[in-house]
Symmetry: C2
Subunit: 463 residues, 2 copies
């Protein structure tokens, strides 16, 4: 696949869609598909990056996707498969003829093949493994033997290494003699006689140093070794935290078995963020191209949990039927207290979940953090209590309803600060992803406390 140099000769376009697919190009592509014109289709796709073609395939209908891929035939580039949303890969793989698939896969790096394989069912895995050459198949099968979402799945096996006692000249001559250097590499990893990595030398340093300089004297300050079983989320964290470009991966005997580069770590970081942001909203991962029934199923569980918590809140309200029947204003105002608590709780919760993910919230500062959030809830609670108390009095006459809603507001915003911080921290300690489960618990607390405080105080003060 060729390049996509952004053409600086073009007039500056609207900021919003600098990297959006060009509408004219897409129109031409779809025209070629409609006309069944394979040559035109190929020439239109030629200048596009595989990632952009994958985006296009994700955005058109399943019907158009099918026609485009069938028309393209053996012109299908393997990189498109790697770039494609996981949800669509199976669909697209089934459209490729076996011989096209085999050609396609042979062009891919070992880590990309593994990435493709791991999301497929056994039958499709077999089809792909059979299409690979023997050495590639063995490499892919080895990688699949590592746990899902581990460094072993992320890494490429092609590593450039040198004995730790070499000098620059020896390293350069060695590189010059290699026939198949990896596509992308930025460091030479120095290893001891037992193949354990001890340091990295950047290619830039290597090129800028005289031949007799020892490699050991020009190693990088920051050197980080990744255990092959480490979770990919931690790998991404390490790259981001220590600004790594590539890092050697070692097995349990500390021997070099592969290498991870920052571009793969960036993809994982992006995926982890996506997962967190969706989980916080009660959405499990899916694809924009998912069909209605798949999406409905993905959304259902969280809504079911929410129904249960909403019913719990209603049970609290039901305890106060007599009061509600006597003072209808209570029914009018009670959702305000619950809603404010829910929002304040979500604020605390989101900050806590992020801080846990970035390892900024630890045992050292957790009490200070909880105290801060509770105090913030208290202060904002008092402010909104005054505002809402005044509104309550003006709206419904008598000062009592003002006292009641003001007091309930303070209580619920303090509860929100406490629940919004303590719940994610406790879930994390229990080994449950706080992004996934905190929301339901926190809004349950703020609903129950909100309704109970407001209606309970009303009974005490007003009736």
């Amino acid at each position: 696949m060729s390049d996509t140099a952004s053409e600086p000769t073009e007039p500056a376009r609207d900021d919003e869609d600098v990297y959006a697919l060009d509408t004219n190009a897409v129109a031409q592509i779809m025209y070629a598909v409609d006309a069944g014109d394979q040559e035109l289709l190929k020439s239109e796709l030629e200048p596009l990056h595989a990632a952009d073609i994958a985006d296009l395939l994700e955005q058109i209908t399943a019907f158009d996707r099918r026609r485009l891929i069938l028309l393209l035939g053996e012109g299908f580039d393997g990189d498109i498969l790697s770039e494609l949303d996981e949800g669509l890969r199976e669909e697209v793989l089934e459209l490729l003829k076996p011989e096209v698939l085999a050609d396609t896969l042979r062009e891919l790096d070992s880590d990309d093949v593994v990435d493709l394989l791991e999301d497929l069912d056994d039958e499709q895995q077999e089809v792909i493994l059979d299409a690979l050459e023997d050495s590639d198949r063995v490499a892919a099968e080895n990688a699949l033997a590592y746990p899902e979402e581990s460094a072993g799945r992320m890494m490429q096996r092609e590593v450039v290494m040198a004995p730790e006692h070499w000098n620059v000249g020896e390293a350069i001559d060695f590189l010059r003699d290699q026939d198949d250097l990896p596509e992308q590499f930025y460091h030479i990893t120095l290893v001891d006689p037992r193949l354990r990595p001890v340091a990295n030398v950047t290619l830039g340093k290597l090129m800028g140093s005289r031949r007799e300089v020892l490699l050991q004297s020009i190693t990088e300050d920051t050197f980080h070794v990744i255990p092959v079983t480490q979770d990919e989320e931690d790998v991404a964290y390490a790259f981001n935290q220590y600004h790594l470009i590539s890092a050697p991966v070692v097995d349990e005997d500390e021997r070099l078995v592969g290498m991870i580069t920052i571009d793969d770590a960036m993809v994982v970081l992006d995926e982890e963020h996506e997962e967190d942001i969706l989980r916080l909203a009660g959405v499990s991962e899916g694809s924009l191209a998912d069909r209605v029934m798949d999406t409905t199923k993905r959304r259902f569980p969280w809504l079911a949990v929410n129904l249960a918590t909403a019913i719990l809140a209603s049970l609290v309200i039901a305890q106060f039927e007599a009061a509600l029947a006597q003072v209808v204003a209570l029914a009018v105002l009670m959702p305000i207290v619950a809603s404010m608590g829910g929002n304040a709780g979500t604020q605390s919760l989101t900050v806590a979940v992020r801080a846990i993910a970035t390892k900024d919230l630890t045992g050292r500062n957790v009490w200070r953090f909880i105290r801060r959030e509770v105090l913030v809830g208290l202060i904002n609670g008092v402010i909104f209590a005054v505002v809402m108390g005044v509104i309550g009095v003006l709206w419904f006459g008598g000062p009592e309803i003002g006292y009641v809603i003001a007091a309930a507001m303070v209580i619920n915003l303090v509860a929100a600060g406490l629940a919004g911080t303590a719940i994610p921290v406790l879930l994390e300690k229990a080994g449950i992803d706080p992004a996934l489960a905190s929301g339901a618990f926190v809004t349950t607390v703020t609903d129950v406390v909100g309704f109970f405080a407001f209606l309970g105080l009303a009974v005490v003060i007003m009736l």
Copy 2:
């Protein structure tokens, strides 16, 4: 600052805190601070990466932070400043003596100095600019002349370039003769006679090729040029989308003015995600180390907006006071409909906001997307309508309340699907960040529609 090689000899620790700061090390550091033992403090900090020291400073109290920094004195590493949370930089800068600051800054790369400068007030900027050497100061001032959050602020000015007609041997000799190659570089950028970048050659390819090979014949497939005024968010998108490692930056005359590397793009991607996730929860950026009053102020605006929308919903309820006085069950059940709508709307909204950010939701598929979300709302609405209808009947006798809550549920979940998709799309079109503003609008719609549909239907069917 030296390295933090993860020690593969250590026993495998609990997965959760692979990269958490070691508790013993922190205890030793705080002991040194308490004892006023500068030597011990230095020796304990020595093996830590600057990013980890910054994390430690963020996690301890302001009092301890002050003592630690004063005790460390000129041992303070400039990289710690770069790694530090923006909210804490001013505080720490004020603790550093001018001569320590000057030493500290001289070690930093030009892009790191700019990153430090841009968040400071004018007075502190002056202090730092004065501490720099002349050439560095001019470079920093030039960078600050570019718009905030633009490629010009992200880039480093140190670039390694070569005329497009050179061969491998000429390039290698040139590199060998350079005294001050950048710390980190992975490509040589080929330029035409007017200094416009035309292609990249990776150092790996350069090392693996014979001297007489023309650079033009070993250029990278994917080549991407970044305009200096491009928004940093788009820069990060390009790196992630096209798997770039480094990219040349050009001015309006298309001339090479700098280079951006993937590690900086990864930092921006991480920050943008953080911003999105916090904005969706109604939290503006801040720091875990912020004090109570700062945090209270940051949380206040969104809660104020929420109060306004909650009052709006209460005004809807107030229209039905007569009905509520007659049938108290309505007050008990009405929050359930609103809550389910709010949750379903948040699901659709979050998916839409993410898809807009990743440029997956475009004019091409927006109608299909809205239709899907509405259908998902309809189907889940019908399912939960049946469940809730049955519960309503069992709880309060009579079938009518079952019909009412079932119908209101369907209506509100459809409204949630529609509002959750249409509102972020419209905000984006209006140039407003959908992550920031969508939540308030969507929950207003689901609250108002939920209460109105439920109470309105109750009046029609039950009274």
